[in-house]
């Protein structure tokens, strides 16, 4: 009995030391990790949006849009759209959003820059934990995501699903996830009337949109 108690106590002690160490390090590193994530997001935003207006420094403002349906509810994420402009001018030149999709072994996040008329200007993979050597190759733009440039919502479909984009060999699930998540985002934006029809070249009226909060500039 006494020995059992001793063993139990030692085990508890080991677990306690481990828990304290983990809690302490977590409290120290969590805020830094959050900052790092935000920085990574900002730099990804800058790099995808650059294609809309090369060489200019850009301003980003988050938008809240009434009636916007969230296509990513199954991934516990919301569609948040960011307006891009070139300061000091506040006229919109495009949008950025993050597409979420459940891939083979992770929720793949793709950052997408969109032209005003609704075609994709550029994309980059923000987060993925797909199989190394297979699905993880999605981060290499030439494998898949650079094929999206210039496409509109209806053209974002894999060849296997009746569209015109060839999936990465051996990674249909990852390719399909990314393609469909981008299409869902674009369709949701399109339904709110965010995109101007290509030929008129007019901007959609600004009263659909309300600036939600001041996003970080640049």
């Amino acid at each position: 009995m006494a020995e059992m108690l001793k063993i139990g106590l030692i085990l508890m002690l080991v677990a306690l030391v481990a828990a304290v160490a983990l809690g302490f390090v977590n409290s120290r590193t969590a805020p830094i990790i959050a900052i790092q994530k935000e920085l990574a997001k900002q730099s990804a935003m800058n790099s995808v949006a650059e294609s809309l207006s090369p060489g200019d420094s850009l301003a980003f403002d988050s938008l809240s849009i009434a009636g916007l349906e969230n296509p990513y509810a199954s991934c516990d994420n919301t569609l948040s759209i960011v307006k891009i402009s070139v300061p000091p001018d506040t006229t919109r030149i495009g949008y950025v959003f993050i597409a979420f999709g459940k891939g083979y072994s992770s929720t793949v996040q793709t950052m997408v820059a969109v032209e005003l008329e609704g075609s994709i200007s550029n994309t980059t993979i923000l987060f993925q934990q797909e199989t190394p050597g297979l699905g993880a190759n999605i981060v290499n733009p030439s494998k898949l995501i650079e094929k999206f440039i210039g496409l509109t919502a209806s053209e974002c479909l894999l060849t296997k699903d009746g569209g015109g984009i060839d999936a990465m060999t051996g990674c249909t699930i990852t390719s399909r996830t990314v393609t469909n998540s981008i299409r869902n985002g674009l369709e949701a934006m399109n339904e709110t009337g965010l995109f101007s029809s290509g030929d008129t070249g007019e901007n959609p009226s600004d009263d659909v949109l309300e600036p939600a909060a001041e996003g970080g500039t640049e």
């Binding site: 030692i10 983990l22 390090v25 590193t29 990574a40």
Partner: protein, 202 residues
């Protein structure tokens, strides 16, 4: 002398993958390219050294009846700490090695060495053992990854070896899961023949 022996045995005589057949999960999962094999090898070696050090340090305190739960707690805690610290202070390294870190927890080489060596050997020998085993594990992964990357992608460490004509129609199965098993069985068979020959002569 025994330090050197503890170090070298992991490389061939008790190679964790080819001789002990340990750590198959990460071994099969990440050997799709040489780059991944080196990344996983470096991360696993680091954790192996630290866990062998801690287990060996506390080997007289931890009662043998509850040693396995203690080792698991030590290893899991350590891996999580490494993950958090790396994520906060070395985000670039974390981005390239991040995927391997959760895999290290289930790497039975680490538990195997804690149980099989570190819990009854002095600290220095345990570290020598960990370094040797880590190098053996990394080398084994590089061997299989070389075959898989070369056949499945036409490259070695991202250098184009077999030409772009091959890359358009590679032997894709080598990179997929079945290819890992097929190639691994060939390599294990080769080492078994080698051992048999050696045994026959003695």
């Amino acid at each position: 002398m025994s330090l050197v022996k503890d170090f070298t045995k992991g490389i061939y005589r008790e190679n964790p993958v080819f001789r002990l057949v340990l750590g198959m999960c990460p071994f099969l999962a990440v050997t799709t390219s040489v780059e991944n094999a080196l990344g996983m090898g470096a991360a696993a070696t680091f954790v192996l050294i630290c866990s062998n050090f801690l287990v060996s340090l506390f080997r007289n305190i931890i009662p043998s009846k509850v040693r396995i739960p203690c080792y698991i707690v030590i290893i899991a805690t350590f891996v999580t700490l490494v993950d958090m610290v790396m994520n906060a202070y070395l985000p670039d390294l974390h981005r390239s090695l991040g995927i391997f870190i959760p895999l290290i927890v289930v790497n039975c080489i680490i538990l195997g060495r804690a149980e099989g060596f570190a819990n009854r050997n002095p600290v220095l020998n345990s570290i020598a053992d960990a370094v040797g085993m880590g190098i053996g594990f990394t080398m084994a992964m590089v061997v299989l990854a070389s075959f898989r990357e070369l056949l499945g992608n036409g490259t070695w460490l991202n250098f184009n070896v077999l030409g772009s004509a091959y890359q358009n129609q590679p032997l894709l199965i080598a990179i997929l899961a079945p290819g890992a098993f097929i190639l691994l069985s060939f390599i294990l068979g080769f080492f078994n023949i080698l051992e048999k020959r050696k045994g026959g002569r003695q």
